[in-house]
């Protein structure tokens, strides 16, 4: 106290400015005033007035004060005392850079150089338990005013779940100031949760508030409060609690339902994207392409390469030759466009591989479907090994562009951007395939060749060429699927193996030779799979049940959902 008295006497001029400061003074000045105030009650009052403020200076200053980091510095001439905060790294002499509290700038000596001081040589600004308590209160609630909304909401939730009744005024004050709707909701929730510890009337309003908010996270707290009310013999309070729990349960069921629906749709869309290529090669052409999965992997690796070319480049173990691929070091939005470049390239690469496969092997096997199965399985082994030797046997990671990461939350239901994108894109692909098949001359030729190869050939259609292009189209679509799958999970040489069984199932259930059937069966299998997972809480068991369900379904409809009628006995 002695120090401060001396200080007080010396720096009269400075004080004068403080005394005249208006009520809406800056938090920095409030803190200085609090330091200089003689009366402890006044100090606490001043510190308390900082609650709910969001100035950046409050936190470092109060923290420093609590931890003996604020000092009174006297200029060498001894004429002026200045309040400083020591910060930064200690140098060899234990000295630190000094910052002025009144404006946050470095303290400069007469020559204009920053002053370095040793804390032990100076007089620290004093504090006691009561002051520290007041400061802690300010610091705790300071987080409630963090400019970043996400952090603010986290802080609000933390305060709420501590259920400290003392903090109700602070929360109320913040609620009055808060403009962001998400933060307002968290504040209401935090207030209500805290009030569960307050008086009975407060508890009743809290129950009703939580009921309206469908607050999932406070479920356990509500239950505890309800049990307490039951024990204390307050039936109407317990009833209000029960109502709140019921409303939250209902809300949870709704979230699970829509969440499952959404995940089912997105899984169905993935299935649709990977299976639509197969629906063309298997469904329309009748070729059992076991290497379809590897076409997906080819597309995924193309995306991986494009991403790295846009980035810093990469060295791949290309058949043991360690081939460096230069990158163009793109940044910002230009880098983000890599995916848009990767999509057509994935299509083209996979289509070219598919055409090569058709020309070299499959065209000899059109009349021997079982053998096309075996030969393409051989090809799938070859391609897997080739990918392994080109890119290494470890999985690689493809980073998603920023517009594909992140979530969109409506009413506690989370929708991932990438999944929404996949659903939208599945729609686009289906539309595109439909356009190609029905509105272009190539589509007309494809359909004519698939319906009756000999007749089409007699009419002058070059069936060989049409076969090649159709197979290229189917493989290219698999490549597109690969580009998407690279955004959802890791990319590895055996990526295709995870999808091949699902692909065939989807096409067979939908009805071979029918694209509409593939759409229905993909979405259906996706929804059933996710619902079973939700019910059984076990992904593997769900998958096994789906397989069993498919086998049983084919008992009922042996040729799938949509039957292509034919008079041919062996079809």
């Amino acid at each position: 106290m002695r120090t401060l008295t001396r200080f007080f006497s010396i720096n009269l001029l400075f004080l004068a400015t403080l005394v005249c400061a208006s009520a809406a003074q800056a938090p920095r000045d409030t803190i200085i005033e609090a330091i200089l105030a003689k009366d402890k009650a006044r100090k606490i009052e001043l510190i308390g007035s900082l609650v709910g403020e969001s100035d950046e200076a409050i936190k470092p200053l109060l923290t420093a004060w609590k931890e003996d980091g604020l000092f009174v510095y006297q200029t060498p001439e001894g004429s002026v005392s200045i309040l400083v905060m020591l910060a930064g790294e200690k140098d060899a002499n234990d000295a630190q850079a000094a910052l002025r509290i009144d404006n946050g700038q470095p303290l400069l000596d007469a020559a204009g150089k920053p002053v370095h001081l040793v804390g032990g040589d100076l007089t620290a600004v004093e504090h006691d338990a009561e002051l520290r308590g007041a400061m802690k209160n300010v610091l705790d609630l300071l987080a409630l005013a963090t400019p970043d909304v996400v952090k603010r909401i986290q802080a609000i939730q933390a305060v709420g779940f501590s259920q400290d009744v003392e903090k109700i005024p602070a929360l109320e004050k913040r609620l009055a100031l808060e403009t962001d709707s998400g933060a307002r909701k968290s504040l209401r929730e935090a207030l209500a949760v805290t009030r569960l510890k307050a008086s009975d009337a407060d508890k009743l309003t809290a129950f009703n508030e939580l009921k309206d908010l469908h607050s999932l996270s406070s479920y356990d707290l509500i239950r505890t409060a309800m049990r307490d009310a039951e024990k204390a013999g307050k039936p109407e309070l317990a009833e209000a609690g029960a109502h709140a729990l019921k409303a939250i349960d209902l809300h949870r069921t709704k979230i699970n339902f829509f969440g499952t629906l959404f995940r089912g749709l997105s899984l169905g869309s993935i299935l649709l994207i990977v299976a639509i290529g197969l629906a063309i090669t298997f469904g329309l052409m009748g070729v059992i392409n076991m290497a379809h999965g590897e076409m997906i992997a080819v597309g995924a690796y193309t995306t991986y390469l494009v991403e790295n070319i846009f980035g810093t480049g990469i060295t791949i173990p290309f058949f043991g030759f360690s081939l460096p691929i230069p990158g163009i070091h793109a940044t910002g939005w230009f880098y983000q466009t890599y995916f848009m470049v990767a999509l057509p390239l994935s299509f083209l690469t996979a289509a070219l591989v598919g055409i090569a496969l058709e020309r070299s092997i499959i065209r000899f096997l059109y009349r021997r479907p079982l053998e096309s199965l075996l030969a393409t399985w051989g090809v799938s082994l070859l391609l897997q090994q080739a990918l392994k030797l080109m890119f290494g046997s470890n999985n690689v990671q493809v980073s998603s562009p920023s517009y594909l990461s992140g979530n969109w939350t409506i009413d506690d239901i989370t929708f991932g951007w990438n999944r929404i994108f996949v659903i939208g894109f599945a729609g686009l692909i289906v539309f595109g395939v439909w356009l190609i098949l029905t509105k272009t001359s190539l589509g007309l030729l494809i359909r004519s060749v698939m319906q009756n190869r000999n007749m089409a050939s007699c009419m002058g259609v070059r069936t060989e060429r049409v076969n090649m292009l159709t197979f290229g189209l189917g493989s290219g679509l698999a490549g597109l699927a690969g580009a998407f799958i690279s955004q959802i999970g890791n990319v590895g040489p055996s990526l295709g193996q995870n999808y091949i069984v699902d692909c065939f199932m989807t096409v067979v259930v939908g009805g071979v030779g029918n694209l509409a059937g593939t759409i229905y069966s993909a979405l259906g299998i996706g929804l059933v799979d996710q619902s079973l997972q939700q019910i059984l809480l076990n992904p593997v068991l769900g998958k096994i049940l789906v397989l069993v369900a498919i086998i049983l379904f084919l008992q009922w409809k042996p040729s799938g959902l949509f039957v292509t009628r034919s008079r041919n006995l062996d079809d």
């Binding site: 092997i361 070859l382 498919i550 062996d570």
Partner: protein
């Protein structure tokens, strides 16, 4: 007719010599140290694979049903035998508890109910036949009743195998999960690690293979065998001639499942491990390769194929491990495209080639 019977005589004599070699001479050479224990163990494995290949051929080569589920039946038999062998370890495991190590690891203190009867060999043996047989019966009944055939049958059996492997990969199936069963010690009171037991197992495998071969050879000469091949070549005509093709196919499917299962049951004590990776659709396809390379539609073909490809695999996985898959895949493509009859068709092809060459100058 007479030419046919001489061919038969030749085949009979050849088969007799080969089985004499495998059943008597090979083990004798081993007993006198002229063939290493490793070799006889390796050949025992090949013969088990030959059983698997024969079961594929019975379905694919003789009946036209490409089943991708034979690896499932093979490993089911293996698992049943494995359960018996696990019980025979007794308390000699790592944890010295009377139950298998992986159960101790999963926190079990006493044996789950369905494990208990497996300490008896007759029970395990009957399940080796019953479980795959029943599964094949039910699945086959459903599939053939709704006239699922051709590639759809392949895809469905592939899905069945895939589903089963997913199930066996799970720990709470209580069948060893990922790692499966291993560390076997005794079979019927004999030490599995001794050369004598392994030799005995080899002889048993060779005898079983001989029995399967002979009975299938006999079956193919009956009217049943004829119908079987007729189904392969034109199922609808057989159906319209008044045969219930579904029953024929179902019978063959069950028989093939049993052969594969017995092969698996003999495989496990000789190899010393069984895990779900034996059950994947890929393994089924591999067995189809053996059959295709050896020559489908013959009974010798799959045996030759299984032995030659697996010898190649043993060599390749030491000499060029990176390229084994390339060799296998390439072999498959080449055989399907250029040599649909497999190895056994090579002599006939050479003969016709020779005839063409010798005839041309005279013409």
């Amino acid at each position: 007719m007479s030419s046919l019977s001489t061919r038969h005589k030749v085949e009979l004599i050849a088969a007799g010599f080969i089985s004499l070699f495998f059943i008597v001479i090979f083990p004798l050479l081993n007993a006198h140290g002229m063939v290493s224990d490793f070799t006889i163990n390796l050949w025992g494995k090949y013969l088990c694979y030959a059983l698997l290949a024969i079961s594929v051929d019975l379905l694919w080569g003789y009946t036209g049903l490409l089943s991708l589920g034979q690896a499932l039946f093979f490993s089911l038999g293996g698992y049943m035998m494995g359960m018996y062998l696990m019980r025979m370890i007794g308390d000699l495991g790592q944890y010295h508890k009377p139950i298998p190590d992986f159960l101790v690891f999963l926190g079990w203190t006493e044996l789950p109910k369905f494990w208990k009867p497996f300490s008896s060999f007759p029970f395990a043996f009957s399940l080796i036949l019953l479980l795959p047989g029943l599964l094949a019966l039910v699945f086959g009944f459903l599939a053939f009743r709704s006239r699922i055939k051709g590639v759809y049958f392949s895809i469905l059996t592939q899905a069945l195998t895939y589903g089963a492997s997913l199930m066996f990969f799970r720990n709470d199936m209580l069948m060893g999960g990922n790692n499966g069963f291993t560390d076997f010690k005794f079979i019927l009171g004999h030490d599995l690690r001794s050369a004598t037991t392994q030799r005995g197992l080899f002889i048993v495998t060779a005898i079983v293979l001989l029995l399967v071969y002979t009975s299938l050879r006999l079956l193919s000469h009956t009217k049943f065998g004829l119908v079987q091949r007729a189904i392969r070549d034109g199922e609808n005509r057989v159906l319209f001639s008044g045969y219930a093709t579904a029953h024929f196919k179902l019978f063959i499917f069950v028989i093939a499942a049993l052969i594969a299962s017995i092969g698996g049951a003999l495989y496990v004590p000789q190899v010393g491990i069984i895990n779900p990776s034996e059950m994947t659709p890929d393994k089924s396809l591999e067995a189809v390769v053996w059959c295709a390379v050896g020559g489908r539609g013959t009974l010798v073909g799959p045996i030759i194929g299984a032995i030659s490809i697996n010898s190649l695999k043993s060599w390749a996985s030491r000499a060029a491990p990176d390229y084994w898959l390339v060799i296998l895949g390439g072999l498959f493509v080449v055989v399907v495209l250029l040599l649909p009859g497999g190895i056994v068709s090579i002599p006939a092809r050479l003969k016709s080639l020779w005839q063409r060459v010798t005839r041309q100058p005279s013409a």
